[in-house]
């Protein structure tokens, strides 16, 4: 056991750090959502030109072929420098890896490069109004027609749908098969009349998400990924990538926010308050447990090659800690802290953390069944 970075790891961190220092685009524009998105798109194209987009992707597909440790270092340094998020984060973290893992050569040729450059934005069409945690029960159907498919149904909680060219779509292609077996993973072109969008305003007041309505939208055969009927397996890859990618970055973001909160508590003269001290100490323990658990998982993955279900533990820890942190921040600020501010935004936004990307209850189910081996109720 040795947590000291190797000289290669340290050199990589220094390289990332100095590149970010020299190329940091400054704070994101506030207010105008589409200006903010264009800012993030431009930022990603700069990352891409310097070889920092898709760093986990193999070199053959335009990535950097970085090791797991290098990926973790990069994911730490981005939030640490308060760099903006790249515009096409879903394409980079989920869409691209799925095409690399399950796509054919033509699909790799067609889709990967524009993901990296942020020329084509990706969104994810999994959840439906009646299929949230029970994702496999989804009803959007795709019917084969003249060498292609016609898709009809509704998706919800679709991030970036209004900016997206492509949608990772799970649809039912065999209504008679058992629910996990009748699904297919498609890449749907969002730029067609049969696809309609409605922004979904959330409790923060903004509309990060959309609803998608599809009325006979067409998808050509060549946009089926991983074969007809294999959608569940392909989709699960997406979610594993989502949770695995969360670890390092979320621990650093939590650390950064906790440091800000400690400074705020000092500023307000509350450093002696025993209740606040205890809550801060609990958050410190939680933030470090999350960071160190991530490092343990990383070592495990490097030794065995399998990420394992521990990502579910990290997702749960992070959601709890982030909610507790923002609750404490608003308690420190008092009612005035509930004015429109960065903290009041973070406070409200954190309520989604235990729902998005799999609810905490689903995480507990995964841990109970797949780590502890407890029987399934269903």
């Amino acid at each position: 056991m040795d947590l000291t970075p190797t000289s290669e790891e340290q050199a990589f961190r220094d390289e990332v750090r100095s590149w970010l220092e020299a190329n940091h685009p400054g704070p994101e524009p506030e207010g105008d959502d589409s200006a903010k998105f264009e800012f993030q798109r431009h930022w990603q194209s700069e990352l891409h030109e310097a070889g920092w987009a898709g760093i986990s992707w193999p070199k053959d597909y335009g990535g950097r072929g970085a090791t797991l440790v290098e990926q973790a270092i990069f994911s730490e340094e981005m939030p640490r420098s308060r760099a903006p998020r790249p515009a096409n984060v879903l394409g980079l973290v989920m869409g691209g890896p799925v095409v690399i893992a399950h796509g054919d050569e033509d699909q790799k040729e067609r889709f990967l490069e524009p993901i990296l450059s942020a020329e084509e934005i990706w969104c994810q069409g999994f959840s439906e109004p009646e299929s949230g945690s029970d994702l496999a029960s989804l009803k959007t159907k795709a019917v084969a027609e003249n060498g292609g498919w016609r898709v009809t149904g509704q998706k919800v909680w679709t991030t970036f749908a209004h900016e997206a060219k492509w949608c990772m779509l799970l649809a039912r292609t065999d209504p008679d098969a058992p629910k996990h077996k009748g699904l297919t993973y498609f890449i749907l072109d969002m730029e067609q009349d049969e696809v309609d969008l409605r922004p979904l305003r959330q409790i923060t007041g903004e509309a990060e998400f959309n609803e998608i309505f599809m009325e006979g939208a067409s998808v050509p055969d060549e946009n089926v990924v991983g074969g007809v009927g294999n959608g569940w397996m392909v989709g699960i890859t997406t979610l594993m990538h989502e949770r695995a990618g969360l670890g390092a970055a979320s621990a650093v973001a939590l650390r950064r926010d906790l440091d800000d909160l400690v400074a705020l508590i000092q500023e307000r003269g509350l450093a002696d308050d025993p209740v606040i001290r205890d809550r801060v100490a609990r958050l410190q323990v939680a933030a470090e447990a999350l960071r160190l658990g991530g490092l343990r998982t990383l070592t495990q993955t490097m030794r065995t090659g399998i990420p394992g279900p521990e990502g579910s533990l990290a997702k749960w820890q992070w959601a709890d800690a982030n909610q507790e942190l923002t609750e404490l921040a608003t308690d420190v600020l008092g009612p005035g802290g509930l004015e429109r501010s960065e903290w009041s935004y973070k406070f409200l936004r954190s309520r989604a953390n235990s729902i998005e990307g799999g609810t905490t209850e689903v995480m507990k189910n995964i841990i109970a069944e797949r780590v502890l081996g407890l029987p399934r109720l269903r």
Partner: protein
């Protein structure tokens, strides 16, 4: 960056688990707890394995390994809930090694490493502190307001104490005189906290396994109770508690040898988390076991009581969180003059 045990450490872990599960069977633990005794022949076997000297320098008769190796042993001893004076002897060794002068180390560590002249240590400066395993020890390390004092056990007043935890011998100690140790007490106390956190992590792991095993077998309403989320989610929380304690404890063990500046924070986090985890997991396991877990007949009681006593004894989680708050930057500010 490698957050896992190397081959040698894995071997130590395997050997410890095999040895302890063979010697400290549930029947043996119960027999020792019910009679409030240790088994001297088992202690001799432990000494022959060289465990008491694992983290003590070779020049003092130890194995010259580090905190990580000690952490591995303590975790397995907690898992077995083994009634032995191992932890208190190790605590005395850590205190004398880190806080003692050359002469004190020279004179005391060999006996602690061989287990033939055991040590025991208190944690907080008190008039008559509770010292686990003071009876039968040769030397006692007693923290005071401004240092740590070494006392011959023979000259101390040692009054046995029956705490709820019968898997360890406790005593109240009053002693005068002795030599003060010249070093900085936290250097020793912080290491002790890491060893204790390791034992608590092992206790939590064992209780979780008991609860999960029972939840798979026990049927009510026609199903194993582990199929109900009220039970399975409780078990998932046990895993979260145990793994957080483990991550923080292993980290603190590594820090103690490799990155000493981080030790005060790392050890406080490990002990705070492990104290809470061991209590919450054992208490939650009792709830999963239901009535049977509340009976004298079931072995969970030994873990639950050990968790509570050990969690309290070398500093409560609240005391450690108070320290964490200081270290994270919430130190009380000096009033500005003028």
């Amino acid at each position: 960056m490698d957050f896992g045990f190397n081959d040698e450490q894995q071997e130590i872990q395997r050997t410890a688990r095999d040895f302890l599960s063979a010697r400290f069977t549930p029947e043996k633990v119960r027999e020792l707890a019910e009679s409030h005794t240790y088994d001297d022949s088992l202690w001799r076997e432990i000494c022959e394995l060289g465990w008491p000297g694992i983290a003590i320098d070779e020049e003092h008769g130890g194995q010259g390994l580090g905190m990580i190796e000690l952490v591995i042993l303590c975790e397995q001893l907690g898992y077995a809930c083994a009634p032995t004076p191992f932890l208190s002897n190790a605590a005395a060794g850590l205190m004398i090694d880190a806080v003692g002068g050359d002469e004190q180390r020279e004179r005391r560590l060999a006996g602690i490493a061989s287990g033939e002249a055991r040590g025991a240590a208190a944690f907080t400066p008190e008039e008559s502190p509770i010292v686990p395993d003071a009876e039968g020890a040769a030397v006692l390390a007693l923290p005071e307001a401004d240092g740590v004092r070494l006392v011959e056990a023979a000259g101390a007043e040692i009054e046995p104490l029956e705490l709820i935890d019968a898997t360890r011998a406790y005593a109240r100690v009053s002693a005068n005189g002795g030599d003060s140790m010249p070093g900085d007490p936290p250097a020793g106390v912080d290491r002790v906290a890491v060893a204790v956190a390791a034992e608590l992590t092992g206790v939590a792991q064992r209780a979780m396994e008991m609860a999960v095993e029972y939840a798979k077998e026990r049927e009510q309403f026609g199903r194993p109770i582990g199929a109900y989320q009220a039970v399975s989610h409780r078990c998932a929380k046990m895993l979260l508690d145990t793994e957080e304690a483990r991550s923080l404890t292993y980290y603190a063990g590594w820090v103690a040898d490799a990155e000493r500046d981080s030790l005060p924070m790392a050890s406080a986090m490990a002990k705070a988390r492990a104290s809470d985890a061991a209590w919450e997991v054992t208490a939650s396991a009792l709830q999963v076991l239901g009535g049977i877990g509340f009976t004298w007949e079931h072995d969970l009681q030994f873990l639950l009581k050990r968790a509570r006593a050990t969690g309290q004894l070398w500093g409560t989680s609240g005391q450690y969180r108070e320290r964490i708050a200081d270290l994270v930057g919430l130190a009380a500010e000096e009033p500005v003059a003028g």
